[in-house]
């Protein structure tokens, strides 16, 4: 016969010690889920997924998540992937959700901290974002990434600097300086096929024998994240604005050095302190200066990059 009616639900006997269970729910449930992992789970997967399960469960117990709220979350997660469709092949909504929750910035901090916990620091990293392209072409040093003409309200900037070994102060010849940026309408090339050709406002430059680079780009423009879809719904729930401060993305690499992916922000941008993806760091805020005597540009930006040699661990 069924044992129904006399309910001996697990969870009512929370007598396994206060340390193990600071809540009134089954003190053994979460560990049972974690321990269900089999012997062929790799040690790292066991660590990462075990911690993930524990934090998801702790979160749910802490707020006493209701069934309706959980179901809202299920629909939300499904919607994140569903927005990627025939008309949205370039949309990476899970990446954007990560950014809005500060997760990409945090993961970047973790990676950067592991590299840089020494006495010397390389140039600060910042998040990659969803708009980097592996297909950006090499351009000649001194060239321009403005391939489609200067857009209305565009301000041409001569950007230049030196890429240096942070441990020796010596320049790094042949370092690759990869830059990408939105146009003056706040859109990247592949978001804006009607106005921009592929690789407009993208390019790679190889530093000269003195580690120097220089080229023309635009003064960057602040823009909004998309105002539709799950990330917009989440921002709305949190009563947050969708603005990123104006920024230039750069990725500087060399085979003998640890690469640096980062972003640079004009120091007069109004969104610096409330960047909706939390990617601003003090040493990444820069000063665009008026430039005289250049036929192409009206502004200049000097930016010097400091890289750590591969294997450099600082004091670790």
């Amino acid at each position: 016969m069924a044992t129904n009616g006399t309910n001996s639900t697990n969870g009512t006997n929370g007598t396994n010690g206060a340390q193990k269970s600071a809540h009134r729910f089954d003190p053994d449930f979460t560990q049972a889920v974690i321990d269900n992992m089999g012997p062929k789970t790799t040690p790292r997967n066991r660590q990462v997924l075990g911690a993930l399960i524990r934090h998801i469960h702790d979160f749910s117990r802490e707020v006493e998540l209701t069934i309706d709220e959980w179901m809202t979350g299920v629909h939300f997660i499904n919607a994140v992937g569903q927005i990627y469709g025939d008309s949205n092949k370039t949309r990476n909504e899970a990446h954007r959700i990560s950014d809005v929750l500060g997760l990409e910035s945090l993961v970047d901090e973790i990676a950067h901290k592991i590299v840089s916990e020494g006495e010397l620091d390389p140039t600060s990293s910042s998040i990659l974002g969803p708009f980097w392209s592996p297909n950006a072409p090499f351009r000649n040093i001194g060239g321009s990434i403005i391939q489609d003409g200067v857009p209305p309200n565009g301000r041409v900037t001569k950007m230049w600097g030196v890429i240096t070994d942070m441990t020796t102060g010596k320049p790094i010849p042949n370092a690759v300086f990869d830059i990408w940026q939105a146009s003056a309408n706040g859109k990247y090339d592949f978001q804006d096929p009607d106005n921009q050709s592929p690789n407009n406002l993208r390019g790679k430059f190889r530093a000269d024998n003195e580690g120097r680079y220089w080229f023309y780009c635009l003064h960057p423009t602040a823009y909004s994240l998309p105002q539709d879809g799950p990330s917009w719904d989440l921002l709305t729930l949190m009563d947050r604005h969708p603005m990123r401060p104006a920024h230039i993305h750069i990725m500087v690499t060399h085979p003998d050095f640890q690469g640096c992916t980062t972003q640079l922000y004009p120091n007069d941008d109004p969104w610096l302190t409330t960047d909706t993806v939390f990617a601003v760091k003090p040493d990444l805020v820069v000063d665009f200066k008026p430039l005289k005597g250049d036929a192409t540009a009206t502004l200049e930006l000097e930016y010097n990059v400091f890289l750590a040699p591969k294997g450099y661990k600082g004091k670790l």
Copy 2:
């Protein structure tokens, strides 16, 4: 001029006290993300999303999540929604991921605990799962949910019992007993359109004036979760089997009572202790008995359901 090179990254000055920061990363970052929520955020959203952000960040710092691992997670979340497509309109992968991680069972425990923390307990709840249909038809009491004929290996069961007010012991006339189950091939109607018509093995029955219900169904069959897609990838990473023990889903409701959604498990099922969605509870394990003298069924299952009146809070 740029301030590059002299790196004053936030995070290197972790001097806000050990309580606030038991780790070596920026002690203020997570609170800054949470505090970015605006004044129009509802108090509950602030609580839930604030805790979610804190646990996601704590998880990432605890395991020192790498950029590659984070990116793997981004692709995984995108894939969850993307599997829902033209050929998969009934697939709810986020729901299944929740189940595999024990989250739906935990949320069910939380809801049930809030209802039942009194001296009396209603019938234990269990997870809804992704296969309930709002469109199941009412059938006449004593009828059968086996609409498409008994499948090979199917064992017809007469299921019967009484639905009772747990506080008074009195029957609940007109309570609705909603049942759904997979066929003997382990598939629900809408997973199996070639073999099953819509609403095969589903039905609602209205209890009589003595709170009694009875009808014919199948002895349930254990089945595997889908062996493709993100949930299968996750199970594989965790070296876990994809099996659910055999079960019958029921949902019992009445306007004056708190509804009960649960599942019943044959006591001889080999997967009871390792259910891949962690939904088995002791009082839901039942005994199917041989039945003599019934022209339709060879087995019987008595199951009595105890409901709490609306507003009943026990000792709370």
